[in-house]
């Protein structure tokens, strides 16, 4: 059982094969099941064959729909914008967490509130968001933002607090003022960790995106899934889901590469 030991070493090919194995297994299981279902009922909609799915992709990605739009791209762009805006607004969460961690005043005012706010299920408040921010883009951006804001703020707060006190004292003895210590000592040190947290929260953000789009939208990946779900168009839903996963995976990868490039000191730290 050497390959199960803690010290097992695998070459690049073996590693690639091992990493691929579960993917291959899932795909094979799907098509086997799909094949069996189609033998019983050639019109089966739940588990479409490759051919049917390709048809679905072709129709949405490479053919104009009735409105003369390439649906997949329009949907992708609409969703990406919503996610992009809310990600940009997460800067506020990071700044709030940073200040809560370093300044007792901010801690006293915000900590309990954010902690409580974190436990409020944002989704349940969706109707209120629609009333306050309207049915347009803003309410969907706000839903995504509110959904992950407390998590990011609290995580940043804990990390700012965990920076050794000695570092802050050291900064003071070298003549640094509060701004320099906040943005020049603490923030850059916790930034890679904060980016990691944001990256791990992409999934939650996508969930909130889909929830928002499912209730009120005219385009968007989540919107489309909910529209075609009505006639169980799995040949569209499955490619859409895979496409969303792929995009999220790539976004995650980009952040990881950025951390590696920008924060060279971080990995070994």
């Amino acid at each position: 059982m050497k390959f199960l030991s803690m010290h097992a070493k695998f070459g690049p090919v073996t590693t690639a094969l091992l990493s691929a194995s579960l993917f291959v297994l899932c795909v094979a299981a799907y098509f086997t099941a799909s094949h069996i279902r189609h033998q019983e009922n050639p019109k089966d909609k739940i588990m479409p064959t490759i051919g049917k799915m390709w048809k679905g992709v072709e129709n949405t990605a490479f053919k104009e729909d009735r409105k003369g739009e390439y649906r997949l791209w329009v949907d992708t762009w609409a969703s990406a914008k919503r996610l992009g805006y809310s990600t940009l607004l997460l800067v506020l969460a990071v700044l709030l967490g940073l200040h809560m961690g370093l300044y007792p005043f901010f801690e006293a005012v915000f900590y309990r509130f954010i902690l409580f706010f974190d436990k409020v299920p944002a989704l349940a408040l969706l109707p209120i968001l629609f009333i306050i921010f309207g049915l347009g883009e803003l309410s969907k951006v706000m839903l995504i933002l509110l959904g992950v804001f407390p998590t990011i703020a609290l995580d940043t707060y804990l990390r700012a607090k965990a920076v050794p006190r000695e570092q802050i004292i050291k900064g003071r003895t070298l003549g640094a003022g509060s701004a320099k210590i906040t943005y020049g000592v603490v923030l850059p040190q916790i930034m890679p960790d904060v980016l990691n947290t944001i990256r791990l929260n992409f999934k939650a953000m996508v969930l909130f995106l889909i929830a928002g789009e499912s209730l009120a939208a005219t385009a968007g990946l989540g919107y489309r899934i909910f529209v075609v779900r009505r006639y169980i168009a799995m040949e569209i839903i499955i490619p859409y889901v895979l496409w969303m996963s792929l995009l999220a995976f790539v976004a995650d990868l980009l952040v990881r590469l950025w951390i590696k490039k920008r924060y060279a000191w971080y990995q070994a730290h």
């Binding site: 003071r172 003895t173 070298l174 003549g175 640094a176 320099k180 000592v185 850059p188 730290h269």
Partner: protein, 308 residues
């Protein structure tokens, strides 16, 4: 220099930390200390006696449970650029290269956070000057090639040397160093000792230097403080560390390196070891070696019932 008003003045200083069960433990017990500008004070004592704690008090990072710490007759304020520190741990900023760590203070002092955006030209020019200055220090500490490395790429001893340069370049009034040479080999250590002495003479700093190496303490210091919890009073075994020795090192200062191998030196080291560092030899407080001209203490009658 004012003889009647020493720069630093500690009187009746107690430091207690709460233990697990809530009862306070005395770490520093009635510390009295007067220090003049320009003194090179080495601090020795058993591990865990409170040397780092004493430095934190002088730094202003913590306040004493009881007693006063005065600088120029005023209550000590929060840590600032007049008092530098080389910590035992966490000595460098992990996200900055060696060069950036060293110029950090010069940079912070010369311009706030945002000058770089307002006047980039002026800032670049100053930066260059700072880097040239830092380069000189890097060469002196033998790390000229490491300027672009990050702290995690350095050995423990290299990190400490960078931390020393980082503090020294600011020429603080008081420099506190907590076992800075613990991780250095003999040759590098000797070199660094000479470097510190040279900087001390040039910048007229007051230095507190904690070390476990008694030879080093006697060689570097103009004055040696022995802090120890191994002593007894009339009330029994002592609780928490007191200054059990406070004396000037013999001869001038700085000393020639052959002092290290002198008879005087080995006697002094022997005496410190037996009086301060040995748990079996509990010196009575009336026998403490407090012969430095600035040494003083307030006596608690319970601990020492003086015969009339």
């Amino acid at each position: 220099m004012n003889d009647t008003n020493p720069m630093l003045h500690l009187e009746d200083v107690y430091m207690r930390y709460p233990s697990r069960d809530g009862t306070p433990i005395t770490i520093l017990n009635d510390i009295d200390l007067k220090v003049r500008q320009g003194e090179f004070i080495t601090v020795v004592g058993p591990s865990g006696c409170g040397k780092s704690t004493l430095l934190r008090l002088i730094l202003g990072a913590e306040s004493p449970t009881e007693g006063a710490v005065l600088l120029d007759g005023k209550k000590l304020d929060a840590p600032n650029r007049n008092r530098g520190i080389v910590f035992q741990k966490y000595s460098l900023f992990p996200h900055l290269s060696v060069m950036d760590n060293i110029v950090f203070g010069l940079d912070a002092e010369a311009h706030g956070m945002f000058l770089g955006w307002l006047k980039p030209g002026q800032m670049r020019q100053r930066r260059r000057a700072f880097r040239d200055q830092a380069q000189v220090y890097l060469e002196r500490i033998g790390l000229a090639d490491a300027a672009d490395k990050y702290p995690h790429e350095l050995s423990g001893g290299m990190r400490q040397r960078v931390a020393i340069a980082q503090s020294l370049i600011m020429k603080p009034r008081i420099l506190l160093m907590d076992e800075p040479f613990g991780a250095l080999d003999h040759a590098t250590r000797t070199e660094m000792q000479l470097f510190i002495l040279e900087q001390w003479e040039q910048a007229e700093m007051t230095i507190f230097f904690v070390t476990h190496d008694l030879e080093e303490a006697c060689f570097l210091g103009s004055r040696v403080l022995v802090l120890s919890q191994y002593y007894q009073t009339d009330a029994g075994r002592g609780q928490g560390a007191k200054i059990v020795g406070d004396f000037a090192t013999p001869g001038g200062h700085p000393k020639p390196t052959d002092f290290l191998y002198s008879e005087e030196m080995s006697q002094l080291v022997h005496r410190i070891r037996s009086e301060g560092l040995s748990p079996d030899n509990l010196q009575h407080i009336r026998d403490f070696n407090l012969t430095h001209r600035d040494a003083f203490r307030t006596v608690n009658p319970e601990e020492w019932q003086r015969e009339q």
